[in-house]
Assembly symmetry: C2
Homo-oligomer: 235 residues x 2
Protein backbone atom coordinates (compact mmCIF):
# COMPACT_ATOMS: atom_id res chain seq x y z
CA UNK A 1 0.00 0.00 0.00
CA UNK A 2 1.43 3.39 -0.98
CA UNK A 3 1.91 5.81 1.88
CA UNK A 4 2.14 9.61 1.84
CA UNK A 5 3.14 11.84 4.74
CA UNK A 6 0.70 14.76 4.76
CA UNK A 7 1.25 16.63 8.04
CA UNK A 8 -1.43 19.27 7.35
CA UNK A 9 -4.38 16.93 6.87
CA UNK A 10 -6.96 16.65 9.67
CA UNK A 11 -9.77 14.12 10.28
CA UNK A 12 -12.19 16.86 9.14
CA UNK A 13 -10.88 16.68 5.56
CA UNK A 14 -13.10 14.71 3.17
CA UNK A 15 -10.89 15.34 0.14
CA UNK A 16 -7.20 16.07 -0.11
CA UNK A 17 -4.92 17.56 -2.75
CA UNK A 18 -1.44 16.10 -3.01
CA UNK A 19 1.34 18.63 -3.56
CA UNK A 20 2.83 18.99 -7.03
CA UNK A 21 5.79 16.82 -6.03
CA UNK A 22 3.57 14.16 -4.45
CA UNK A 23 1.20 14.27 -7.42
CA UNK A 24 4.08 13.71 -9.81
CA UNK A 25 5.36 10.82 -7.68
CA UNK A 26 1.87 9.35 -7.42
CA UNK A 27 1.02 9.52 -11.14
CA UNK A 28 4.40 9.34 -12.93
CA UNK A 29 6.52 7.18 -10.61
CA UNK A 30 3.94 4.95 -8.90
CA UNK A 31 1.69 5.21 -12.01
CA UNK A 32 -1.42 5.19 -9.85
CA UNK A 33 -4.77 5.93 -11.47
CA UNK A 34 -8.25 7.07 -10.57
CA UNK A 35 -9.80 4.57 -8.14
CA UNK A 36 -6.44 3.34 -6.79
CA UNK A 37 -6.06 3.33 -3.02
CA UNK A 38 -3.36 5.09 -0.98
CA UNK A 39 -2.74 5.72 2.70
CA UNK A 40 -1.88 9.03 4.33
CA UNK A 41 -0.27 9.65 7.71
CA UNK A 42 -0.35 13.02 9.43
CA UNK A 43 2.51 12.39 11.86
CA UNK A 44 0.17 13.02 14.78
CA UNK A 45 -1.32 9.54 14.96
CA UNK A 46 -3.77 9.83 12.07
CA UNK A 47 -3.82 7.08 9.43
CA UNK A 48 -6.07 7.86 6.45
CA UNK A 49 -7.37 5.46 3.80
CA UNK A 50 -7.96 7.37 0.57
CA UNK A 51 -8.94 6.73 -3.05
CA UNK A 52 -7.63 8.71 -6.01
CA UNK A 53 -10.56 10.69 -7.45
CA UNK A 54 -8.42 12.62 -9.95
CA UNK A 55 -4.93 11.34 -10.89
CA UNK A 56 -3.77 14.80 -11.96
CA UNK A 57 0.05 14.93 -12.48
CA UNK A 58 0.29 18.29 -10.64
CA UNK A 59 -2.65 18.28 -8.24
CA UNK A 60 -3.88 14.76 -7.62
CA UNK A 61 -7.14 14.72 -5.68
CA UNK A 62 -7.82 12.06 -3.07
CA UNK A 63 -11.11 11.16 -1.45
CA UNK A 64 -10.73 10.20 2.21
CA UNK A 65 -12.58 6.93 2.85
CA UNK A 66 -11.67 6.33 6.48
CA UNK A 67 -9.56 7.71 9.30
CA UNK A 68 -7.92 5.94 12.22
CA UNK A 69 -6.72 8.28 14.96
CA UNK A 70 -4.02 7.43 17.52
CA UNK A 71 -2.79 4.67 15.19
CA UNK A 72 -0.02 2.76 16.99
CA UNK A 73 -0.21 5.08 20.00
CA UNK A 74 2.70 4.37 22.31
CA UNK A 75 2.22 3.50 26.00
CA UNK A 76 5.06 5.79 27.14
CA UNK A 77 6.96 8.91 26.09
CA UNK A 78 10.65 8.63 25.27
CA UNK A 79 12.87 11.66 24.81
CA UNK A 80 16.54 11.01 24.06
CA UNK A 81 19.08 13.83 24.15
CA UNK A 82 22.30 13.01 22.33
CA UNK A 83 25.42 14.91 21.35
CA UNK A 84 25.73 14.97 17.54
CA UNK A 85 28.43 12.53 16.46
CA UNK A 86 31.60 13.73 14.72
CA UNK A 87 30.64 11.53 11.76
CA UNK A 88 27.08 12.62 11.01
CA UNK A 89 26.23 9.23 9.44
CA UNK A 90 26.21 7.80 12.94
CA UNK A 91 23.63 10.29 14.20
CA UNK A 92 21.52 9.74 11.07
CA UNK A 93 21.72 6.00 11.60
CA UNK A 94 20.54 6.42 15.20
CA UNK A 95 17.58 8.55 14.10
CA UNK A 96 16.50 5.96 11.53
CA UNK A 97 16.76 3.04 13.94
CA UNK A 98 15.19 4.86 16.91
CA UNK A 99 12.25 5.81 14.67
CA UNK A 100 11.80 2.17 13.66
CA UNK A 101 12.02 0.89 17.24
CA UNK A 102 10.02 3.69 18.79
CA UNK A 103 10.88 7.17 20.02
CA UNK A 104 8.90 10.37 20.58
CA UNK A 105 11.45 13.18 20.81
CA UNK A 106 15.14 13.71 20.13
CA UNK A 107 17.20 16.68 21.31
CA UNK A 108 20.69 17.47 20.06
CA UNK A 109 22.90 18.72 22.87
CA UNK A 110 26.21 20.52 22.55
CA UNK A 111 28.52 19.48 25.36
CA UNK A 112 31.96 20.67 26.36
CA UNK A 113 33.66 17.81 24.50
CA UNK A 114 31.36 17.86 21.47
CA UNK A 115 33.44 17.97 18.29
CA UNK A 116 30.36 18.78 16.23
CA UNK A 117 28.51 21.92 17.29
CA UNK A 118 25.63 21.84 14.83
CA UNK A 119 23.54 19.56 12.61
CA UNK A 120 21.16 20.31 9.73
CA UNK A 121 17.71 19.65 11.17
CA UNK A 122 15.97 19.54 7.76
CA UNK A 123 18.16 16.74 6.47
CA UNK A 124 17.83 14.80 9.72
CA UNK A 125 14.05 15.22 9.67
CA UNK A 126 13.94 13.76 6.16
CA UNK A 127 15.63 10.65 7.52
CA UNK A 128 13.13 10.42 10.37
CA UNK A 129 10.22 10.86 7.95
CA UNK A 130 11.52 8.14 5.62
CA UNK A 131 11.97 5.74 8.56
CA UNK A 132 8.50 6.61 9.88
CA UNK A 133 6.93 5.76 6.51
CA UNK A 134 9.07 2.64 6.05
CA UNK A 135 8.07 1.29 9.47
CA UNK A 136 4.43 2.31 9.04
CA UNK A 137 4.23 4.69 11.96
CA UNK A 138 1.61 7.45 12.16
CA UNK A 139 3.48 9.56 14.72
CA UNK A 140 6.42 11.66 13.57
CA UNK A 141 9.17 11.88 16.21
CA UNK A 142 10.04 15.45 17.15
CA UNK A 143 13.61 16.56 16.47
CA UNK A 144 14.77 19.67 18.32
CA UNK A 145 17.42 22.15 17.19
CA UNK A 146 20.82 21.77 18.83
CA UNK A 147 20.98 23.36 22.28
CA UNK A 148 23.77 23.79 24.82
CA UNK A 149 24.03 21.16 27.54
CA UNK A 150 23.60 23.78 30.27
CA UNK A 151 20.41 25.17 28.78
CA UNK A 152 19.08 21.69 28.18
CA UNK A 153 19.45 20.29 31.69
CA UNK A 154 17.60 23.29 33.08
CA UNK A 155 14.55 22.68 30.92
CA UNK A 156 11.58 21.24 32.83
CA UNK A 157 10.71 17.58 32.19
CA UNK A 158 7.87 15.72 33.88
CA UNK A 159 9.17 12.17 34.15
CA UNK A 160 12.22 10.04 34.85
CA UNK A 161 15.52 11.64 33.87
CA UNK A 162 18.62 9.55 33.18
CA UNK A 163 22.18 10.40 32.18
CA UNK A 164 24.46 7.74 30.69
CA UNK A 165 28.20 8.28 31.10
CA UNK A 166 31.36 6.18 31.15
CA UNK A 167 33.14 7.38 34.30
CA UNK A 168 33.51 4.99 37.22
CA UNK A 169 30.97 6.26 39.71
CA UNK A 170 27.71 5.07 41.21
CA UNK A 171 25.23 4.08 38.51
CA UNK A 172 22.02 2.11 38.30
CA UNK A 173 20.51 0.01 35.53
CA UNK A 174 17.43 1.55 33.94
CA UNK A 175 15.43 -1.60 34.74
CA UNK A 176 16.12 -1.15 38.47
CA UNK A 177 14.79 2.43 38.53
CA UNK A 178 12.16 2.03 35.90
CA UNK A 179 8.53 3.18 36.34
CA UNK A 180 6.41 1.64 33.53
CA UNK A 181 4.24 3.68 31.13
CA UNK A 182 5.90 6.89 32.17
CA UNK A 183 7.86 9.71 30.52
CA UNK A 184 11.59 9.20 30.14
CA UNK A 185 14.44 11.49 29.25
CA UNK A 186 17.83 9.93 28.59
CA UNK A 187 20.98 11.99 27.96
CA UNK A 188 23.84 10.43 25.99
CA UNK A 189 27.25 12.11 25.85
CA UNK A 190 29.66 12.79 22.99
CA UNK A 191 32.49 10.53 21.80
CA UNK A 192 34.70 11.95 24.57
CA UNK A 193 31.97 11.45 27.20
CA UNK A 194 30.49 14.12 29.47
CA UNK A 195 32.89 16.01 31.71
CA UNK A 196 32.80 15.29 35.44
CA UNK A 197 31.21 18.72 35.94
CA UNK A 198 28.52 18.02 33.36
CA UNK A 199 27.62 14.75 35.08
CA UNK A 200 27.55 16.54 38.43
CA UNK A 201 25.32 19.29 37.05
CA UNK A 202 22.97 16.69 35.56
CA UNK A 203 22.69 14.88 38.90
CA UNK A 204 21.97 18.18 40.64
CA UNK A 205 19.20 18.77 38.10
CA UNK A 206 17.45 15.50 38.96
CA UNK A 207 19.07 13.14 36.45
CA UNK A 208 20.01 9.64 37.65
CA UNK A 209 23.31 8.18 36.44
CA UNK A 210 22.71 4.93 34.56
CA UNK A 211 24.75 2.11 33.10
CA UNK A 212 23.80 0.59 29.75
CA UNK A 213 25.67 -2.65 30.42
CA UNK A 214 29.27 -3.77 30.52
CA UNK A 215 30.12 -3.06 26.88
CA UNK A 216 31.92 0.08 25.80
CA UNK A 217 29.42 1.54 23.34
CA UNK A 218 29.78 4.26 20.75
CA UNK A 219 27.62 7.34 21.27
CA UNK A 220 24.98 6.31 18.74
CA UNK A 221 24.97 2.71 19.99
CA UNK A 222 24.46 3.87 23.57
CA UNK A 223 21.58 6.09 22.45
CA UNK A 224 19.96 3.16 20.64
CA UNK A 225 20.59 0.82 23.57
CA UNK A 226 18.68 3.25 25.83
CA UNK A 227 15.90 3.37 23.23
CA UNK A 228 15.80 -0.44 23.09
CA UNK A 229 15.73 -0.83 26.87
CA UNK A 230 12.92 1.62 27.53
CA UNK A 231 10.74 0.30 24.72
CA UNK A 232 11.43 -3.28 25.79
CA UNK A 233 10.65 -2.60 29.46
CA UNK A 234 7.32 -1.02 28.45
CA UNK A 235 6.13 -4.04 26.44
Amino acid sequence: MHLFYTPDITPANKDWFLTEEESKHCTRVLRLEKGDQVNLIDGKGGLYAATISDAHPKRTILHIEAVITEYGKRNHYLHIAVAPTKNLDRLEWFLEKATEIGIDEVSLIITQRSERKEAKIDRLNKIITAAMKQSLKAYHPVLNEAISFNKFINQPFDGQKFVAHCANSEKVAIKDQFKPNSNYLVMIGPEGDFTEKEVGDALQNGFKAITLGESRLRTETAALEACFEINFLNR
Copy 2:
Protein backbone atom coordinates in the same frame (compact mmCIF):
# COMPACT_ATOMS: atom_id res chain seq x y z
CA MET B 1 45.68 2.60 25.57
CA HIS B 2 46.66 1.31 22.12
CA LEU B 3 45.22 -2.04 21.18
CA PHE B 4 46.41 -4.56 18.60
CA TYR B 5 44.53 -7.66 17.43
CA THR B 6 47.06 -10.49 17.31
CA PRO B 7 45.06 -13.72 16.82
CA ASP B 8 48.13 -15.98 16.81
CA ILE B 9 49.53 -15.02 20.20
CA THR B 10 49.11 -17.46 23.10
CA PRO B 11 49.56 -17.01 26.87
CA ALA B 12 52.84 -18.97 26.47
CA ASN B 13 54.45 -16.12 24.49
CA LYS B 14 56.84 -13.94 26.51
CA ASP B 15 57.76 -11.71 23.58
CA TRP B 16 55.85 -10.86 20.44
CA PHE B 17 56.77 -9.44 17.04
CA LEU B 18 54.25 -7.13 15.42
CA THR B 19 53.72 -7.63 11.68
CA GLU B 20 55.32 -5.16 9.29
CA GLU B 21 52.00 -3.34 8.91
CA GLU B 22 51.39 -3.22 12.67
CA SER B 23 55.00 -2.16 13.30
CA LYS B 24 54.64 0.71 10.85
CA HIS B 25 51.36 1.77 12.47
CA CYS B 26 52.89 1.48 15.93
CA THR B 27 56.04 3.48 15.21
CA ARG B 28 55.08 5.84 12.37
CA VAL B 29 51.39 6.55 13.01
CA LEU B 30 51.10 6.16 16.78
CA ARG B 31 54.76 7.22 17.18
CA LEU B 32 55.23 4.85 20.06
CA GLU B 33 58.72 4.28 21.42
CA LYS B 34 60.69 1.78 23.46
CA GLY B 35 59.12 1.43 26.90
CA ASP B 36 55.64 2.51 25.78
CA GLN B 37 52.79 0.21 26.75
CA VAL B 38 50.27 -1.42 24.41
CA ASN B 39 47.55 -4.02 24.77
CA LEU B 40 47.01 -7.08 22.60
CA ILE B 41 43.87 -9.15 22.18
CA ASP B 42 43.87 -12.62 20.65
CA GLY B 43 40.15 -12.79 19.85
CA LYS B 44 39.80 -15.87 22.05
CA GLY B 45 39.43 -14.05 25.35
CA GLY B 46 43.08 -13.22 25.94
CA LEU B 47 44.02 -9.64 26.86
CA TYR B 48 47.78 -9.00 26.98
CA ALA B 49 49.61 -6.06 28.55
CA ALA B 50 52.88 -5.50 26.70
CA THR B 51 55.80 -3.07 26.62
CA ILE B 52 57.70 -2.11 23.48
CA SER B 53 61.22 -3.49 23.81
CA ASP B 54 62.28 -2.52 20.25
CA ALA B 55 60.26 0.10 18.32
CA HIS B 56 61.47 -1.22 14.96
CA PRO B 57 59.46 0.26 12.03
CA LYS B 58 59.18 -3.15 10.35
CA ARG B 59 59.39 -5.68 13.18
CA THR B 60 58.52 -4.03 16.48
CA ILE B 61 59.21 -6.32 19.43
CA LEU B 62 56.93 -6.38 22.44
CA HIS B 63 57.57 -7.88 25.86
CA ILE B 64 54.47 -9.43 27.39
CA GLU B 65 54.05 -8.17 30.96
CA ALA B 66 50.75 -9.78 31.90
CA VAL B 67 47.93 -11.86 30.45
CA ILE B 68 44.26 -11.96 31.37
CA THR B 69 42.39 -14.96 29.94
CA GLU B 70 38.62 -15.09 29.41
CA TYR B 71 38.52 -11.28 29.51
CA GLY B 72 34.87 -10.17 29.36
CA LYS B 73 33.69 -13.77 29.01
CA ARG B 74 29.99 -13.78 28.17
CA ASN B 75 27.42 -15.68 30.26
CA HIS B 76 25.60 -17.05 27.20
CA TYR B 77 26.20 -17.93 23.54
CA LEU B 78 24.36 -15.98 20.85
CA HIS B 79 24.32 -17.07 17.22
CA ILE B 80 22.32 -14.92 14.80
CA ALA B 81 21.61 -16.09 11.26
CA VAL B 82 20.58 -13.29 8.93
CA ALA B 83 19.96 -12.96 5.21
CA PRO B 84 22.46 -10.49 3.71
CA THR B 85 20.71 -7.19 3.00
CA LYS B 86 20.35 -5.87 -0.54
CA ASN B 87 22.28 -2.79 0.54
CA LEU B 88 25.40 -4.26 2.13
CA ASP B 89 25.90 -1.18 4.35
CA ARG B 90 22.97 -2.39 6.41
CA LEU B 91 24.54 -5.79 7.06
CA GLU B 92 27.87 -4.13 7.87
CA TRP B 93 26.12 -1.81 10.27
CA PHE B 94 24.47 -4.76 12.01
CA LEU B 95 27.81 -6.54 12.39
CA GLU B 96 29.42 -3.45 13.93
CA LYS B 97 26.58 -2.86 16.38
CA ALA B 98 26.10 -6.52 17.31
CA THR B 99 29.82 -6.76 18.06
CA GLU B 100 29.57 -3.72 20.35
CA ILE B 101 26.46 -5.00 22.16
CA GLY B 102 27.62 -8.62 22.30
CA ILE B 103 27.40 -11.56 19.90
CA ASP B 104 29.33 -14.81 19.45
CA GLU B 105 28.52 -16.06 15.96
CA VAL B 106 26.86 -14.78 12.80
CA SER B 107 25.74 -16.92 9.87
CA LEU B 108 24.70 -15.50 6.51
CA ILE B 109 21.75 -17.43 5.08
CA ILE B 110 20.51 -17.37 1.50
CA THR B 111 16.74 -17.65 1.45
CA GLN B 112 14.26 -17.96 -1.39
CA ARG B 113 13.56 -14.22 -1.38
CA SER B 114 17.15 -13.11 -0.79
CA GLU B 115 18.10 -10.48 -3.35
CA ARG B 116 21.75 -10.78 -2.37
CA LYS B 117 23.22 -14.26 -2.71
CA GLU B 118 26.74 -13.59 -1.42
CA ALA B 119 28.84 -11.30 0.76
CA LYS B 120 32.61 -10.81 1.02
CA ILE B 121 33.54 -12.40 4.34
CA ASP B 122 36.98 -10.74 4.51
CA ARG B 123 35.57 -7.24 4.31
CA LEU B 124 32.85 -8.05 6.84
CA ASN B 125 35.38 -9.57 9.21
CA LYS B 126 37.43 -6.36 9.08
CA ILE B 127 34.35 -4.48 10.29
CA ILE B 128 33.85 -6.97 13.13
CA THR B 129 37.53 -6.70 14.10
CA ALA B 130 37.41 -2.90 14.15
CA ALA B 131 34.27 -2.94 16.30
CA MET B 132 35.80 -5.52 18.63
CA LYS B 133 38.86 -3.32 19.17
CA GLN B 134 36.81 -0.16 19.48
CA SER B 135 34.57 -1.70 22.14
CA LEU B 136 37.51 -3.36 23.93
CA LYS B 137 36.38 -6.95 23.51
CA ALA B 138 38.82 -9.85 23.70
CA TYR B 139 36.57 -12.32 21.89
CA HIS B 140 36.24 -12.08 18.10
CA PRO B 141 32.72 -12.99 16.91
CA VAL B 142 32.74 -15.80 14.33
CA LEU B 143 31.35 -14.95 10.90
CA ASN B 144 30.37 -17.91 8.73
CA GLU B 145 30.34 -18.05 4.93
CA ALA B 146 26.93 -17.68 3.31
CA ILE B 147 24.94 -20.93 3.29
CA SER B 148 21.55 -21.91 1.90
CA PHE B 149 18.59 -21.70 4.26
CA ASN B 150 17.81 -25.41 3.80
CA LYS B 151 21.34 -26.49 4.67
CA PHE B 152 21.43 -24.13 7.63
CA ILE B 153 18.26 -25.24 9.39
CA ASN B 154 19.46 -28.85 9.25
CA GLN B 155 22.68 -28.07 11.09
CA PRO B 156 22.72 -29.26 14.71
CA PHE B 157 22.49 -26.59 17.42
CA ASP B 158 22.45 -27.33 21.14
CA GLY B 159 20.24 -24.58 22.54
CA GLN B 160 17.11 -22.51 21.97
CA LYS B 161 16.28 -21.90 18.31
CA PHE B 162 14.11 -18.97 17.23
CA VAL B 163 12.87 -17.74 13.87
CA ALA B 164 11.59 -14.16 13.47
CA HIS B 165 9.15 -13.56 10.62
CA CYS B 166 6.42 -11.04 9.74
CA ALA B 167 3.49 -13.28 8.75
CA ASN B 168 0.41 -13.34 10.95
CA SER B 169 0.69 -16.66 12.76
CA GLU B 170 1.27 -17.87 16.30
CA LYS B 171 4.39 -16.29 17.79
CA VAL B 172 5.88 -15.86 21.22
CA ALA B 173 8.06 -13.14 22.69
CA ILE B 174 11.64 -14.24 23.38
CA LYS B 175 11.28 -13.20 27.03
CA ASP B 176 8.37 -15.65 27.49
CA GLN B 177 10.36 -18.65 26.18
CA PHE B 178 13.72 -17.60 27.43
CA LYS B 179 16.07 -19.88 29.40
CA PRO B 180 18.87 -17.74 30.94
CA ASN B 181 22.61 -18.39 30.42
CA SER B 182 21.92 -20.75 27.56
CA ASN B 183 22.80 -21.01 23.85
CA TYR B 184 20.54 -19.15 21.43
CA LEU B 185 20.16 -19.24 17.68
CA VAL B 186 17.96 -16.60 16.05
CA MET B 187 17.12 -16.59 12.33
CA ILE B 188 16.19 -13.29 10.67
CA GLY B 189 14.71 -13.23 7.18
CA PRO B 190 15.43 -11.08 4.11
CA GLU B 191 13.73 -7.80 3.16
CA GLY B 192 10.88 -9.81 1.61
CA ASP B 193 10.59 -12.06 4.70
CA PHE B 194 10.81 -15.84 4.80
CA THR B 195 8.37 -17.77 2.65
CA GLU B 196 5.57 -19.67 4.37
CA LYS B 197 7.35 -22.90 3.49
CA GLU B 198 10.63 -21.69 4.99
CA VAL B 199 8.87 -20.79 8.24
CA GLY B 200 7.17 -24.19 8.27
CA ASP B 201 10.46 -25.97 7.62
CA ALA B 202 12.10 -24.00 10.45
CA LEU B 203 9.32 -24.94 12.87
CA GLN B 204 9.67 -28.59 11.86
CA ASN B 205 13.39 -28.33 12.62
CA GLY B 206 12.79 -27.18 16.17
CA PHE B 207 12.75 -23.40 15.72
CA LYS B 208 10.14 -21.39 17.65
CA ALA B 209 8.43 -18.50 15.86
CA ILE B 210 9.03 -15.23 17.73
CA THR B 211 7.82 -11.65 17.60
CA LEU B 212 10.26 -8.78 18.13
CA GLY B 213 7.55 -6.30 19.08
CA GLU B 214 4.85 -4.35 17.28
CA SER B 215 7.09 -2.27 15.04
CA ARG B 216 7.77 -3.18 11.43
CA LEU B 217 11.55 -3.50 11.48
CA ARG B 218 14.07 -3.66 8.66
CA THR B 219 16.09 -6.87 8.42
CA GLU B 220 19.18 -5.43 10.11
CA THR B 221 17.12 -3.71 12.79
CA ALA B 222 15.29 -6.95 13.59
CA ALA B 223 18.62 -8.77 13.85
CA LEU B 224 19.94 -6.13 16.26
CA GLU B 225 16.70 -6.14 18.26
CA ALA B 226 17.10 -9.90 18.78
CA CYS B 227 20.73 -9.35 19.77
CA PHE B 228 19.72 -6.65 22.21
CA GLU B 229 16.89 -8.68 23.76
CA ILE B 230 18.98 -11.77 24.42
CA ASN B 231 21.89 -9.79 25.88
CA PHE B 232 19.50 -7.74 28.00
CA LEU B 233 17.64 -10.78 29.31
CA ASN B 234 20.97 -12.37 30.33
CA ARG B 235 22.12 -9.40 32.42
